[in-house]
Amino acid sequence: MNKIFLIAAFLLGWSNISKGAVIDDTLYIHRDTVTMAELLVNRCVLNPTSTFEKRNAYIDISIGDDLQLTIINTDSIAHDLGVSNIVSLGTVNASDTVTFSHTFNGFGTFGIAITSTLGYQLGAQATVRVGIPNQSFMWNLWEMNDTLSLDLGNGITSSIPTDYYPNVNTINGEAHPETVADTLGRVIGNVGDSIYISVVNSGNIVHTIHFHGYHVKIVQATQNTSVINWTKDSPVVQPRETMTLLLVPDKPGMYPVHDHNLISVLTQNSYGGGMITNITIQP
């Protein structure tokens, strides 16, 4: 009798250990006009509260966790959602609320993204960081042309034209030098630290992130998986790709890190803006 009880208790315990927790969270779909990189744009985001913010949300969970995600759509149109081009979650109609569930069984950086056209173009993608240790930073990239975003938002056009000239280039909703004040994006650490950086391309074009001073190891990627475990100074992030980079600094210093597609390091016509932030490493 006792033996059976012990086996049952063991199996129950094993079941609890091997299965992740159920994590309840809520994200709001907002779309509004806002000033980004000194220009007025139409922006779509997944925010953690009912107040519009130009930066997308992020959620930290553990490997194996089941994310029960309630999406509240405050927009006037329906949006489709998915997880990093891996799985489709479904549709949330205008002014509607739907709860989706997805279990994250792998380590790394993933996106909860709007996959339907307008929300995709306007950069709506929250980051889910799965099992990434505490000292982690995040770059959610989005580029757009200000006039085009307003035309897209107003329904004047519905597609990115071939003469697409982005003039709003942002990391976590900010353009350099404002990116340097962003504690989530600006990397600060010490020599020898294991620093994880989650990179999420919520933009419409490929972005190549060039590190000064250091190489990084690509420890996870959702599209070009052939580069996993490569050590690079210029990892390439495709549209809607999410990627986890590991930086172990070998020396102190303050270095820029920036998109090496050099039209993306502009704020309007000023060089030194756009997708640039800093890495500061203490001895």
């Binding site: 034209p161 071939t162 003469d163 697409y164 000239y165 982005p166 003039n167 074009i205 490929v206 190549t208 060039h210 000064h212 001073g213 250091y214 190489h215 052939s226 580069v227 475990n229 490569w230 050590t231 690079k232 100074d233 210029s234 390439v236 070998d250 020396k251 210093g253 303050m254 270095y255 820029p256 090496h260 597609n261 050099l262 039209i263 390091v265 502009l266 309007q268 016509n269 060089y271 030194g272 800093n278």
Partner: protein, 392 residues
């Protein structure tokens, strides 16, 4: 006895280590004239090497290839011989902050001023250098170049302990926005960048058909091709399948597993080291397709000829249209021409350098050469590849 052992140890380390102190003198200028063909020219800015005290007016488009050995301690004496600020950023070499060449975190070099950049080449591989002042513009104007760091044991391996190669090609892809180079004083909105030319080592289109970039070899060769991009878009290199291209390194580091592929996309700032291990005769081209990453539209395509001959057995020589009569040879190379379409034969060194060319007729021909001892390739565009000949 202990001192003797130590002496021997130091001697051995000295003999096996080829790393050394390296000093270079580089200048930047803003008065280059770039030939675009048919007498057409535009302005470029760039870098050039010099030997003091003479400071020539020459700069190169693109900048000269810098070649170091892993472990070298390098000092680059940089003279900004121009009316505007410039720097040199050592792209991918992971130098310390003071020598990184970024104006805001290291320093600029004022007009008519100089500084010394000091760093150690810690890893073998392919790297770049470029000006990091107003980079969006200065890159298009031409201020960049390629760096190759050889492993310390040999110039014929791509990294220490890595595979050997028998010949090499270093390809730096880039773009030119002609409108900016024509009007550097008022180039207009930077966000409206549009490439007008896709370049390889500073040349494009027909300029690349002069033979200087051709890949010429045999199925015995392992050919290293270092790919790099300092452009703004995507550069797709498409090798013939028979070239059996393999990616071995990226961004100056060995990759965990070799990737066999004939198509390699290189984005701005990326580098790849590729080995070609041809499995059959090739008379084809390497296609280099330049695309705009904003529109995904193709800008232009360059083609590099690739001629691969099979190992020089007699019957294969006949298939190629010629037979070598007496190989190796000394001074005079006798060639029997079977194919009347072959009217010219050209001799290249194993690294692709043109050594000489001579007209031939069907039947036996004697080519007079002044080649040093070594292995060379003999080739005609009408041949199905190239043949290896040995001068002694």
């Amino acid at each position: 006895m202990k001192q003797f052992v130590l002496f021997i140890a130091v001697l051995l380390v000295t003999q096996f280590s080829t790393a050394q102190q390296v000093e270079l003198w580089m200048q930047s200028r803003m008065d280059g004239e770039l030939a675009l063909g048919s007498g057409d020219t535009t302005e470029f800015w760039g870098f050039g090497l010099y030997t003091p005290p003479i400071i020539p007016k020459d700069i190169e488009f693109v900048g000269p290839v810098l070649r170091f050995v892993e472990g070298d301690s390098i000092s680059v004496h940089f003279l900004n011989n121009s009316p505007e600020d410039h720097t040199i950023h050592w792209h991918g070499l992971d130098v310390d902050q003071a020598n990184d060449g970024v104006p805001t975190t290291s320093s600029v070099v004022d007009p008519d001023s100089n500084r010394v950049y000091s760093f150690v080449a810690t890893h073998a591989g392919t790297f770049n250098y470029h000006c990091h002042v107003f980079t969006t513009f200065h890159l298009s104007m031409g201020m960049y170049g390629l760096i190759v760091v050889d492993p310390d044991t040999s110039r014929n391996t791509i990294y220490t302990g890595g595979p050997r190669y028998t010949q090499e090609h270093n390809w730096l892809a880039s773009e030119l926005n002609r409108n900016w180079n024509d009007n550097p004083i008022s180039p207009g909105l930077m966000t409206l960048y549009d490439a007008t030319h896709g370049m390889l080592n500073g040349k494009y289109g027909a300029q690349l058909q002069d033979g200087s970039h051709d890949i010429i070899g045999t199925t015995d060769d392992t050919i290293a091709v270092r790919l790099s991009s300092m452009g703004y878009g995507k550069v797709r290199f498409i090798f013939p399948p028979e070239a059996e291209a393999e990616i071995h390194m990226s961004d100056g580091r060995q990759i965990p597993s070799v990737i066999a592929t004939d198509t390699i996309d290189v984005y701005s700032g990326e580098r790849f080291t590729v080995l070609l291990k041809p499995s059959a005769a090739i008379n084809s081209t390497v296609e280099i397709v330049y695309s705009d990453v904003r529109s995904n539209e193709e800008i232009t395509t360059n083609e590099i000829p690739i001629y691969i001959g099979v190992t020089d057995l007699d019957e294969q020589n006949i298939e190629n249209g010629i037979s070598i009569l007496g190989n190796p040879f000394q001074g005079q190379l006798k060639v029997f021409v079977h194919n009347e379409a072959i009217q010219t034969l050209t001799i290249y060194s194993m690294d692709g350098k043109l050594m000489g060319s001579e007209n031939v007729t069907p039947g036996e021909n004697t080519l007079t050469t002044q080649l040093l001892s070594g292995t060379y390739l003999i080739h005609s565009p009408k041949m199905n590849g190239a043949l290896r000949v040995v001068s002694y």
